[in-house]
Symmetry: C2
Subunit: 407 residues, 2 copies
């Protein structure tokens, strides 16, 4: 007897027709196999946006507890509808809201974290041979108030339920049929990956492959829940299985190429090369709640250093203000900013045991006349900042160089 948790996002639920398809697939699977099935749903289509809009029209800064009460009604509609459709097909389904499913969270309304899941009710419904249709994205605080997990939280709900129920796999249905070696819109040779480790997926999502929510992958990694990313519109596809490393096949060194386009670079010039200078510069930036991504410091022969870092492009203006206002304490001579840059990252757990990946990457970029502005490396990732105009050529060249189009 296997237990599968299946999660469908809002765009797979944007019409009654789409819901009916999911009802049919789920009912057929339940009817024709020995599987126990838990389905986790987001709100239908753009209904969450509509609820957000309603609150914006009412107040500027909504009470977060009230806001959670408002938003959580969205998933209540979708679980009721799917359960109705399955029951109408002669199937057996029961809809459960977050609190009914025993999902307890902390009290950080609008951005709550799951603390525990009391699976008693879910297990009782599964024993009754019901398909259990659960509202994603929501739970209940210890004060018995409804909470939400923040945008994309339904992925986390699904993985957390899979962990708590010791499910065999957690299937995340999306608009794509799996995780790709890179974005097919940038590189036509991009290929769907059969297998990926949690760590690789974390680097992929963190860097902008928007298939899975970061928190859900962390959760899956922590509790060792195999996640399968699948296309909501195709039946019987294999998708991409995300799991822990030992299951990974031999051979693949690089799994994929991720990139982010919303970066901006700030170069602070002529700071003294002495302990504490990084803190002096980054302190006020952090206080202003501006997130910093890559940081590079290089020392010139004159005892002065250049200090370069990247921020999200939409925070650049704010960052400039902070730097100008703190000239004295930061102690620099001048600074430059650059908007049109991108970050390209090579990702793969195989890097750990294979030397020379970085130099192969840099040579490939050089051969293609792509100038590297910044470099940063981790155990399973090498990131470079380059001019935005070189994005496509860099991704395509690296994809070829590391033969990512071949298994």
């Amino acid at each position: 007897m296997t237990l599968i948790v299946k999660k469908y996002g809002g765009s797979s639920l944007s019409s009654v027709a789409k819901l009916r398809n999911i009802a049919k697939t789920t009912h057929d699977l339940h009817h024709n196999s020995n599987q126990k099935i838990v389905v986790v749903l987001s709100a239908m289509g753009s209904s969450t946006d509509k609820l957000v809009d309603l609150s914006i029209r009412a107040v500027k800064d909504a009470n977060k507890r009230d806001y959670d009460m408002l938003l959580s009604s969205g998933e209540q509609v979708s679980i009721a509808m799917l359960s109705m459709l399955i029951n109408d097909l002669g199937g057996r389904a029961i809809p459960l809201t977050g609190w009914q499913a025993g999902i307890k969270t902390d009290s950080s309304h609008a951005n709550a974290r799951i603390k525990s899941i009391n699976t008693k009710r879910i297990k009782a419904e599964l024993r009754k041979n019901n398909i259990v249709v659960i509202a994603g994205f929501q739970g209940i605080t210890s004060e018995d108030n409804i909470s939400t997990l923040g945008r994309g939280g339904s992925d986390t709900t699904a993985v957390a339920l899979a962990a708590a129920l010791k499910a065999d796999e957690c299937h995340i249905f999306t608009d794509v049929d799996g995780v790709y070696t890179t974005d097919p819109r940038i590189c036509s040779k991009a290929r769907r990956l059969d297998l990926l480790t949690y760590e690789e997926m974390l680097e992929m999502s963190g860097l902008g492959s928007k298939v899975l929510q970061l928190r859900s992958v962390e959760f899956a990694s922590k509790y060792n829940v195999p996640i399968r990313v699948l296309d909501a519109h195709k039946n019987n596809a294999l998708g991409t299985l995300i799991t822990k490393e030992e299951k990974k096949m031999e051979g693949a060194i690089i799994s994929g190429i991720a990139f982010t386009k919303d970066e901006a670079e700030i170069m602070i010039k002529g700071v003294k090369d002495q302990p504490g200078v990084a803190a002096k510069i980054l302190g006020p930036i952090g206080t202003a709640k501006i997130e910093i991504d890559m940081i590079v410091q290089n020392v010139g022969s004159n005892g002065l250093a250049d200090f370069t870092f990247t921020v999200s492009r939409n925070t650049l203006k704010n960052a400039i203000k902070v730097i100008e206002n703190n000239k004295k304490s930061m102690g620099y001579s001048s600074f430059d900013t650059k908007n049109n840059i991108v970050k390209v990252s090579l990702i793969g757990v195989g890097m750990r045991s294979h030397a020379g990946i970085a130099s192969k990457m840099f040579k490939c970029l050089a051969k293609n006349k792509v100038n590297i502005r910044m470099i940063s490396t981790s155990e399973i990732k090498i990131s470079v900042v380059i001019d935005q105009k070189n994005l496509e050529i860099a991704v395509q060249a690296l994809h070829n160089e590391f033969k990512l189009d071949k298994k």
Copy 2:
């Protein structure tokens, strides 16, 4: 310290602007007085209709438990919004769904009855000086499934909460400023009543004055909860207070004139005047789930009787079919039906101690050339069936005759 339960229906909640008005009124009252306030809300505007429509587009005959899950999301939106607006004004409000408010019902989904209310959470919130904003129309079954009370159930929620919390009054805000002696569209002299007994109101609502839901008045009568019907769009109005009889002022014999226009009459002729004949005729009608209102039997000198009763106009066709199919067992010679009839009722607890009301009523109708087709009486009500064309003249004449335009 007084405690007031205030209930607003869907049409008073059809826009953010209307909600904002209610938020302001409620916050001001809470802020400037020593009152504890519980607010009960229906779903906003036509949102329940939209949810019903969504379910109809999906399935023909929805699972009622799923249907309740769907519909109950509507009040969740309105309580979240009102609480948000009150909190935004600097007030203190907390939204509670049916289950959070401790409203336990039986398991008759889509038409559940409140069994008990655990007021612990509500009382705790009131002690914290919160305005408690509660979702009407919904509760939770002993199996922890969400239930709804059926259309108009928010009135019942409000009265049940007022009873459980021993509230001083239950204010029902509607589109009218109170209960009238009769429909002002039929009789321009119709006057708002200051005071009415539960029994009179029951006869009024049962007969088609659609101000309050019947069940809520029964509930109020059982637990002696004073109800005040008020205009949602006017502040500081008095409305109509509905309460038990001893509080009623002296003097008023007749409180109002109610009427229903959706009646049809069926006359079964030539049945034997012997025990059991009523059961023989009405049995098959009841089996077909057709509701019968008035019944009159009169015996002719030939030992045969005519048996006349009224049904709802939209069930007449069905009733005719049943009568035709059961000619043998019913044992009649022929039957007639009449569509264009109405029922007009004089209502007042004063009838109990005042003789001659009926004859005064019949004389008045005769003087105005209104022919009476059927008569039925109860302790506090006299109903007559007349031709539809005489409705206005009858109501106006009776209104004048019993001086209902004067206090």
